[in-house]
């Protein structure tokens, strides 16, 4: 029996719904449900799309969806971060000092790091997520071997910087979202960091449909008869412009009336203006499930995914997915469960969509395969079990 409390450290917790925050929120909610007291340590910043150096909330104790949340004032000094970002955007390489500045002066909270001193004890297990922001580095480096890390690594420049190596070396346990993320880490740091990386656990991320269907709050427009869905933030980094371009090619090639529905926030201008595309924007959870369930499939061409909750939600609703063959993580999920198709070019994309449209039975089989895969590998019982087993094991017992 796990008899400690858990604290999750993450830069934003509240309205924003990015991958790392969804992970933190799901874990905290489900752990509390299972009788393990879990709280969240976060900053007073509203979201990554608002200022990281201004307090949107007052510091203090909050309750977010029933989860005890402690907010601490953000650091206000941002200048070095701006000059480093400017240099990065011009494609220059950074010095070691600038790499440090990138992490030290991105979102951070000295108050929060100091407050953790009261929780670094036998009563608590602390987890910090993700590696990309200064808060995680400051917390873990301040208390070496006391706080565990959920890095959410991607293959990107920051992954290779010296502060990332130090972060891994100072982490108590390391939890990976996917086997591909762990392989990437072993390739780069296995030799230098050693067993704590090689023997760390791949937990995955818990995904389950919310209990109870809920009510559709918004005035719901009727859905098109046949459509695919893109769910998530509309960003260039998620290859949304490419998706728009390829889908218009698909409708032009097969003269179909099939639509592409976008749900979620982000940059609306990335949705190509056409009769074939519909941007529903933010929708309630219940409406999202309705949209997914009635779709022909969910499409996600992003090449930078450390887990991809989005395609999991599609499988939860019993629909297949179409992903990029250039993303090791999503392609690997699809291969493991035979739950969709993966494409490496426009022509393959068009043929894959046409195939799914024309083969209803296979579409349903793929969706069902995905759902079974999630129940087997990523139900909260399974995922939290992996976390708790690992946390219960003292670090000295590796090997």
């Amino acid at each position: 029996m796990f008899n400690k409390k858990i604290g999750i450290i993450t830069p934003w917790f509240g309205q924003f719904a990015g991958g790392a925050e969804l992970l933190a929120r799901g874990m905290a909610r489900e752990l509390n449900k299972r009788g393990i007291t879990t709280c969240v340590f976060t900053t007073t910043s509203l979201s990554p799309y608002d200022s990281w150096w201004e307090d949107h909330y007052q510091p203090g104790l909050y309750e977010v969806e029933g989860i005890q949340t402690r907010r601490f004032a953000t650091e206000k000094r941002r200048e070095p971060y701006d000059s480093v970002i400017s240099k990065l955007s011009r494609g220059r390489s950074l010095s070691a000092i600038e790499e440090e500045a990138f992490f030290n002066h991105s979102i951070n909270s000295n108050d929060l790091v100091q407050a953790l001193a009261d929780y670094v004890n036998d009563e608590y297990e602390l987890l910090a997520v993700p590696y990309f922001y200064g808060l995680t580095h400051s917390a873990i480096n301040q208390y070496p071997n006391k706080i565990s890390l959920i890095p959410c690594f991607h293959n990107e420049p920051q992954f290779y910087w010296a502060p990332t190596e130090r972060l891994l070396a100072n982490s108590r346990h390391i939890f990976f979202n996917s086997a591909e993320e762990k392989q990437l880490t072993i390739r780069q740091y296995g030799r230098r960091i050693g067993r704590s990386v090689v023997e760390s656990v791949v937990t995955g991320v818990g995904v389950e449909l919310p209990s109870g269907n809920g009510e559709i709050k918004e005035k719901a427009e009727p859905l098109p008869e046949r459509y695919f869905v893109y769910a998530g933030r509309k960003e260039r980094g998620k290859n949304v412009p490419l998706l728009g371009e390829w889908f218009l090619e698909y409708t032009a090639k097969y003269s179909g009336s099939t639509k592409l529905l976008f749900i979620g926030g982000g940059d609306k201008s990335l949705v190509p203006p056409s009769d074939a595309t519909v941007d529903l924007g933010f929708v309630s959870e219940a409406r999202k499930l309705q949209v997914l369930e009635n779709s022909l499939g969910i499409i996600n061409l992003s090449e930078n995914e450390s887990f991809s909750i989005v395609i999991m939600e599609g499988w939860l609703c019993g629909v297949p997915c179409v992903v990029s063959a250039n993303c090791a993580v999503t392609q690997s999920h699809v291969n493991r469960c035979n739950g969709g198709l993966f494409v490496s070019g426009k022509n393959e994309f068009c043929e894959a969509l046409k195939y799914l449209e024309d083969h209803e039975a296979i579409r349903h089989r793929m969706g069902a395969n995905g759902r079974q895969y999630l129940a087997r590998e990523f139900s909260f019982d399974v995922v939290l079990g992996r976390y708790l087993n690992e946390l219960a094991r003292p670090k000295e017992s590796y090997g």
């Binding site: 200048e79 070095p80 000059s83 400017s86 240099k87 010095s95 600038e98 699809v334 291969n335 035979n338 739950g339 969709g340 198709l341 993966f342 070019g345 022509n347 393959e348 043929e351 894959a352 195939y355 209803e360 039975a361 296979i362 349903h364 089989r365 793929m366 069902a368 395969n369």
Partner: protein, 540 residues
Amino acid sequence: MHNDTGPNLDVQRLMHEIRSRVASQHHPGEVPNPHAPDTANGNFKHAKHYHVNDLLGFHGEDFVRHAYRVLLDREPDEAGMAHHLDQLASGRFNKIDVLSSLHSSHEGAGQVKLTGLALPAAVRRLGRIPVIGYIIRLVVAIARLPVLIQHQNRFEFYNWSQQQRIIAHQDRQHKELSETLQQISAQILEIMQRATQQQQANELSLRQYEDLIVKYHEFASATEARLAGSDESSLKLNEQISSQAQQVLLHQQLLEQLQQITSEQKTFLDHQQQLGSQIRADLQKADIELLMQERRLTVLLEQVTRNTSTNPSFAEVVASEEEHLLDTLYASFEDQFRGPTEEIRLRLQVYIPILKEAEITDGVLDIGCGRGEWLQLLKSEAIEAQGVDRNRVFIEQCRAAGLNVVENDALVHLRSLPAESLNAVTIFHLVEHLPLEMLIKMLDEILRSLKRGGLLIIETPNPENVIVGSHTFYADPTHRNPIPSQTLQFLLEARGLRTLDVLKLRPREDVKLAGDSELINRFNEYFFSAPDYGIIARKP
């Protein structure tokens, strides 16, 4: 349940099928158009009744061939084809004449009905009657003038658009070819490098492996021998163990030595490569210097031979040649202190938008063009420019790079140019080498040579940066004195130019001290502000 797909659905196999289907699809551009005329194959459907316009749409050999097929029901013979093509090429006969002669020939008479031929053929026949024919042709020509003009316009438009398409196509092909060649070269180079590295690594591993095997055999024999003597005392066993431990230690030391040797070899190789590049660069400079020496000798010898006694220009020639004695040394200064060519080209990019905005595409003079970085950049932007420099080493380098350069004194060259003949004059890192009087004379000549609205761009070290003003400026011993931007701006305006902008270039943001106090700000301003500045001026 959807049992028809079975539980063993395999997306890998499905993707293979989908990819095969993609591969087998036709490219849209390759689908033949069933409505396109099949004139290339000469398939002109045979009938008994045509309109003259059916044939007038063809040109050249196609026209003659189709006229034969329609009117004579056969292929044209060689002589007939040549005869009619000659007639058409002469301009005195047109397609109506050819059709008329074939239609009314003995062979063609009555074979096929050709509507629309009779009237134009009759007019053409009347036109050949002396005197009256001329008047008829004149009247017809005047009556048809608007149509002819329309045809001419259409032809011109078609001709130009075709030419542009051909040029664009050629450009595209050329660009694609160059890119492909570059990619292939880079790939070949990379593959060769990888193969070499792999081979070296393999050889090293093999040697280490062989060494280890030999040592293992030695060790195994020794161990067997020791086992054979197992009756010996425990003291001896202890000795053996300690001996084995020493051997293991020895092996480890050997391995470490091997690693060290490998690393030393790598360092040595790198050093050799650097030396090689340096030697190549030095050889190139030595070649150019040799060329210069030969040239000076040739000039001197020619002059001595021609005018040993009377011609006073001998002394002038000697003096002129003496001025170039240090050309190579100055070129080396440039290499040492100005910075690598590629970096200078990148730095000068900042001025390209200024020329583009002023819509300048030619008439640019670069005074003191040096190694020609700016001229190269202008060439790549399709802006025609000429450089002038006195240093023969630079001139040879520029010419070797295919740049338009003149070896001359800048002032002499400017004076040789017609007034208002230049769109822009550029002077990079030259004014700090000149005495004030010469600079003013040069500005006056530039003002005279520039067209109204023409641009002058001057770049020079910025003494506002304390390190530049007190130290790096003097690294080049041919520099006279730094010129603050206010002074240069005053001189330009005093001689009649209008300053548009002063660009403070390349401040060292990356090394500035962090913080916002007055002391830090002042320190950053004095030590890390722009090391160079550029002035953009216009002739009003």
